[in-house]
Symmetry: D2
Subunit: 162 residues, 4 copies
């Protein structure tokens, strides 16, 4: 019996900078190299870049789609899940993962960070949101220095939960 | 024909401080006095305090419940909506409102702020999250000085969209 | 303290015959006359006819919308709930009611009947589906002779659960 | 480039007869032999039997879970999708498939049949519901003689849509 696969989500927007796409693609590479399954929202931007990276290493990619058709998945998604739930699918992306890597991101990504932290799912951040409440910084998002570090920290958070 | 009702959500956690509960109750009062319908997640803490305030002024209160039973609603909810969707119901709370008032709040509230901003629904904040990206503050959450000011700003944001 | 309101769903398609619309409108009338709150999917056809009937008697009408905008509700919906969940909102329509009245209906209505029976929520039928398994009729859908009888049977099923 | 995989759902209850489980397991076998990916609700009964059959042929199995934990999946699920949506996940099971094979089944299965037919997704039936409206049988469910025939008909329905 082989060790069970790890499921790690990459979250980030459909719109992203070239630098953010580069980070996402490298995260995808690293995830596949370590044998992890990539979970994402299945669309373009960060999601497509991460799937592209994972595909290049023959990794398994799951796209949990907001729309009602599998044709909306980016071309690197091997397992399209068709929810037709709009953004409510963000909760499924997060809960189907054991750790989440947030890259850049707009308000949809912010909602996913909230859902993940609410569920005790570790969030690793690359160029993403910073949070504070009442002037006190909230450091629940674990900052990563680069894509390999993000994947290291995600796997470590799964294997050594706080 | 009377003017259509305004639907305004109050978002915040089941756990809250007495001061946050006081703010929420006063927001509920103000909403009902202005004839607005209160939308919330239907549970305790901030949600119950807001419903209590609205009820005292005979306001209409809608509770969009995460669980599968109407019995889980707080006693001030007049319209329980039973979703059984867990936190995915957060999206419905937000989208069923024309503006959102966030009070205190944990990570669930953060997810709702993300969903609201993603949908262009104005967010008014009382003692809630502050956001920044790449060291740049994001000032999309409109800060309110007190409950009456929060309700003023919510109604103004609906009637005078940016 | 007044007795709590009863919540009863009327389910049926956006497309319906004039006779089915007449039945739905009369069910709406009867529900409002008895003080029950009408829950429905908020769109046209059976849903609109039922809301029209309830409105004529000043009844409260809730529309649990599949789309992402309150503008999609029919004009007799007083409480629009904006889910953006597509047909997954069918589960919410059913679970937010204490009994369900099915009128005519296509496959969406069939899915709602399945969800209701699965949850032990009584289903009263007017010109709707008949079910059988392995050649054995399933008589879980309580047949009504007319709209008033349907509302009688729905209220009776709530007050005297099997 | 290899031909894309076909995604076929097997729907049926957690409670089933030994004969229904045997049918489901054989359907799982056949799906895997033809290279199709099995989509299901991820729990026991029909779902587990189908996954067991597919696993024996090294097929890929996706379990779209109603609960909030991946631990609730049956042991033959290779890709657990954690929705926490309760029965609203039935819509996702159906929409993530190109055809649906219904085996036995209770009211949850009936809801899935309704959702599938509503979406124009072919439904193949083995010992499952029969439908009629106004005394007229509805023959939208394609009857299969046995598991191999069910898989044949599902693949045929995908490749030669009406």
């Amino acid at each position: 019996m082989t060790e069970p696969k790890r499921f790690i989500a990459v979250i980030g927007g459909s719109d992203c900078t070239p630098e953010e796409a580069r980070l996402a693609e490298e995260v995808g590479h690293e995830l596949a190299r370590r044998g992890a399954v990539l979970v994402c929202g299945g669309l373009g931007g960060i999601m497509e870049a991460a799937c592209k990276g994972a595909s290049a290493e023959n990794g398994l990619t799951i796209g949990i789609l907001p729309g009602g058709s599998r044709q909306t998945a980016n071309k690197y998604v091997r397992i399209p899940i068709v929810t037709n739930l709009g953004e409510a699918r963000n909760v499924i992306v997060v809960k189907s993962a054991e750790a989440v890597i947030a890259i850049g991101g707009g308000y949809g990504t912010l909602s996913e960070i909230g859902h993940a932290l609410r569920n005790g799912i570790p969030v690793i951040g690359l160029n993403t949101w910073s949070l504070s409440r009442d002037g006190q910084p909230d450091d629940s998002i674990v900052l990563a220095k680069n894509p390999a570090d993000a994947v290291d920290k995600a796997l470590k958070a799964i294997n050594e939960p706080v």
